[in-house]
């Protein structure tokens, strides 16, 4: 490291001290040296003057001695020098240069030159000062004088002087150092404070700090300018921070939006795919159903003919054993074919049924014995029933058929035995379920679940199990119509069916049938719908032969602020209407009723009170009234199973017309 680097590496305090001290030392050095030289010269002059004075005195005193050649007198005069301790020796020479008189100081060993041949003036030597002068009297040289003076006193004074100056020099330096050390903070401290603030600002990025301005010099100006700079930086920094935050928020918002949109898109895509699959599936089933239904219908007619004539033929040939046997084969086969066509008709929903409120629990309970016989002893059957009755509008036989078909399938899936679980429950199909399964309609359903611990199935199989004649069973073991029939019945009842299965993990079939009534649903409906918006105390004549259904409808209507007059059959209805024709605002008529059907009642009622509105209830649109008739006569119609809210809405609509 060279001096330059060392210098640049020093703190400003050290530099300041070093420069100041160097200046002080140099100045003091020159002052001291000058003083010393001046003092030496002065001292020399003092000595010269002293000796000169002595010389003059001696000269003037001894001039007469020289003139009158009186050596004794001269000796006497010169001897007076003994009073001057520093005079080592002195001599007087006459004008011809001969020694005239001499003087020697104590302990001095001086050899005088016999003749005077020295240069006039002073002569300094190391130890002594010599003076050679001529002696004048009235412009005439009378002789010469020689004086030698000891310089030890001069040197001792010089020594004292040097020592004093050196001491003053050292003292001054020490004093200067202390003074500078005390005073340097005046300059250094503002600078250090400023540097400290700068350091803080730079390290902590805290632009709120400000330098303290204590002086009005360049440092003060620097601090002021620095503060101004900090103001600017702080301002910019805040602005920047603001922009940054704004940008961050913007990015966050955009990202969130994007994620949200993306999720929505994914959901939509998924749903669309499922819907597409569902559509394809249902279209396929619809097509199959139409085909199967058409074929079955014609086939049924053909078989009816075969069977009819077969029976006639049987009666004719009952004595002929062989022919009888033949004809019985024909009839048996035709019967078999009829059952098949019946299955196909069930699948294609062409089966003629009259839906009635059916208690799911009751069907399961009643069918349990038959089912147990059906599955044999290797398989355990467990049923779990919902603690309240679940009423669905369907056909007892159809539900029995569903149970038998599902349980038969389950049995066939468990050749080595296992467990079948049957469970009923009330189920609310919500948006979530519909989205998850890709089908369904919001509302309450009675759920019938059949679970086995059998071989299960692949997805490819699952997709096709409801197709007619699709079977995985051995040839001749199944008809391939079991699940198709189930499917048909469920669809006919506006229900849904779901399958969950995995190979070797069993299968779960769940049938959802819309709930017609249960205590729970009524109460829940009440919670959902507000009653105030509907009835205004209007009276309704309700004609329905089924007591359960009529009771339910009455409860619902009264719930929504309507008065209900009940009639169990057609004739009762007409009689009640005649009695209370003025009070009745609306008649609700079941199309199929004993003693007088809905249409007949309607015609009689219109004769009594032509403006009376009517609402028809029916399981089938084509029972007695064709859609043409409905259109022409503007008849109001509601199809079974009637959901309470639909009924109330319909009633409200008619009354408000």
């Amino acid at each position: 490291m060279n001096i330059n680097e060392i210098w640049h590496g020093q703190p400003i305090r050290n530099k300041f001290m070093l420069i100041s001290m160097l200046t002080v030392i140099c100045s003091l050095f020159f002052v001291s040296i000058t003083l010393l030289i001046y003092e030496i010269i002065d001292l020399r002059n003092v000595y010269k003057k002293e000796i000169m004075t002595i010389s003059k005195t001696i000269s003037s005193s001894s001039v007469s001695s020289l003139m009158f050649d009186d050596k004794k007198a001269a000796k006497k005069i010169i001897s007076n020098l003994s009073l001057m301790k520093n005079i080592m020796a002195a001599a007087i020479y006459d004008r011809e240069g001969n020694l005239f008189a001499t003087y020697k100081g104590k302990d001095e060993d001086v050899e005088f030159e016999p003749t005077f041949n020295k240069t006039l003036g002073f002569k300094f030597s190391l130890k002594s000062l010599e003076l050679n002068e001529d002696i004048f009297f009235e412009d005439q040289c009378m002789g010469f004088i020689y004086i030698k003076s000891d310089l030890s006193r001069f040197y001792s004074r010089l020594k004292t002087l040097t020592l004093t100056i050196t001491l003053v020099f050292i003292f001054s330096i020490v004093f200067s150092y202390i003074l500078l050390n005390k005073l340097q903070p005046l300059i250094i401290n503002p600078l250090n404070r400023l540097a400290h603030i700068m350091d803080l600002v730079s390290k902590q990025r805290d632009y709120t700090k400000r330098a303290e301005i204590t002086t009005k010099d360049e440092i003060g100006y620097l601090a002021m300018v620095f503060n101004e700079m900090l103001d600017t930086i702080q301002h910019h920094s805040l602005e920047l921070e603001g922009y940054r935050k704004h940008l961050e928020e913007l990015v966050k918002k955009r990202t969130e939006e994007l994620v949200e949109k993306n999720e929505e898109l994914m959901k939509e895509l998924k749903e669309r795919k499922r819907l597409e699959e569902q559509l394809v599936q249902s279209q396929k089933m619809e097509a199959i159903g139409t085909l199967a239904g058409g074929v079955a219908h014609d086939f049924n007619n053909l078989l009816t003919v075969v069977l009819g004539y077969g029976e006639l033929l049987k009666q004719k040939v009952k004595n002929d054993g062989t022919l009888n046997r033949y004809i019985e084969h024909v009839i048996a086969s035709a019967e078999k074919g009829k059952r098949l066509t019946e299955g196909l008709l069930a699948f294609s929903r062409k089966q003629m049924v009259i839906p009635k409120p059916v208690n799911l629990n009751e069907v399961v309970r009643d069918t349990e014995k038959i089912l147990k016989r059906l599955i044999g002893e290797d398989i355990e059957l467990n049923t779990t029933l919902y603690d309240k009755d679940i009423i669905v509008l369907s056909d007892y036989g159809q539900i029995e058929q569903i149970l038998i078909n599902l349980v038969t399938n389950a049995k066939d899936a468990m050749p080595k035995g296992g467990e079948i679980k049957i469970e009923t429950s009330l189920f609310y199909m919500d948006e979530d379920f519909i989205v998850r399964h890709g089908y369904g309609k919001k509302g309450f359903y009675g759920a019938l679940k059949v679970e086995d611990s059998g071989i299960g199935m692949e997805k490819e199989v699952m997709d096709r199990i409801f197709e007619p004649f699709f079977t995985t069973k051995e040839v001749g073991k199944g008809t391939g119509l079991g699940l198709s029939v189930v499917y048909g019945i469920v669809k006919q009842n506006k229900g849904f069916i779901s399958v969950e299965s995995e190979p070797n993990k069993g299968s779960i079939f769940t049938v959802y049938l819309p709930v017609f009534e249960s205590d729970v649903t009524v109460k829940q409906k009440q919670a959902v719908e507000t009653t105030a918006e509907y009835g205004k105390g209007e009276t309704i004549l309700l004609a329905e032969d089924d007591d359960t259904l009529r009771g339910l409808m009455k409860t619902v209507l009264e719930q929504f602020n309507y008065k209900v007059i009940e009639a169990a059959n057609g004739r009762d209805a007409i009689e009640l209407f005649q009695k209370k024709k003025d009070d009745i605002n609306l008649v609700i008529l079941d199309v199929i009723m004993p003693k007088a059907n809905g249409k007949e009642v309607y015609d009689r009622v219109r004769d009594i009170k032509p403006e009376i509105p009517a609402l028809f209830i029916s399981g089938y649109t084509s029972d007695f009234l064709s859609s043409k008739e409905i259109a022409l006569e503007h008849l109001e119609f509601i199809q079974k199973p009637v959901l309470p809210i639909d009924l109330v809405k319909k009633v409200k609509n008619i009354l408000e017309k």
Binding site: S61, V63, S64, S65, L66, M67, F68, D69, D70, A73, D94, R95, E96, G97, F137, E138, Q140, C141, M142
Partner: protein
């Protein structure tokens, strides 16, 4: 060095003759005597040495003729008639006048004239500076009272070299 060779100025009886030395002494006396104030300025700018009597060769003074002492030109002349003594500043009385010395002194005693002799007894008789020989060296005695009576002031330089006669008082 103003003087060199045979020129006599100081006093060395060895090298020079007695009269030459005495003459040098006499000339030097002129330098150590102060005459009354205005003495020279009123009259002239010379110091006149008069030699009265016989026996002292006057030409020994020739060397000093025209030299200056105390700024005045030194001159010598033989005084024949004592009545003309008032023109003298210094009066050398030769040994020949030893019998008339009292008369001469009486004549000049109140005048500012430095009286000088080289005869034994002259000092006591009232001659202000009287030269004599001692150990082969020329010496002198000084009658300080006589000088004071005449209003002359003799320098201490001279006094410390000469023998002082104090008899009168």
């Amino acid at each position: 060095m103003f003087f060199s060779g045979s020129q006599v100025y100081g006093a060395d009886s060895q090298k020079f003759g007695e009269y030459e030395l005495k003459a040098a002494f006499i000339f030097n006396f002129a330098k150590f005597v102060t005459w009354p104030e205005h003495h020279f300025s009123v009259r002239k700018n010379t110091i006149d040495l008069c030699v009265y009597g016989s026996g002292f060769p006057i030409n020994t003074f020739n060397y000093f003729e025209g030299k200056t002492a105390q700024g005045q030109i030194f001159r010598t002349k033989r005084l024949k008639d004592l009545s003309a003594v008032d023109g003298c500043d210094m009066l050398f009385v030769c040994a020949s006048e030893r019998y008339r010395i009292t008369q001469i002194i009486n004549k000049v005693k109140d005048m500012p004239i430095l009286t000088i002799g080289d005869t034994e007894g002259f000092g006591e008789k009232g001659v202000m500076i009287n030269l004599y020989i001692e150990d082969d060296k020329v010496r002198f005695e000084i009658n300080l009272d006589a000088a004071k009576d005449a209003g002359l002031f003799i320098s201490s330089q001279l006094l410390k070299l000469g023998r002082i006669i104090q008899k009168k008082r």
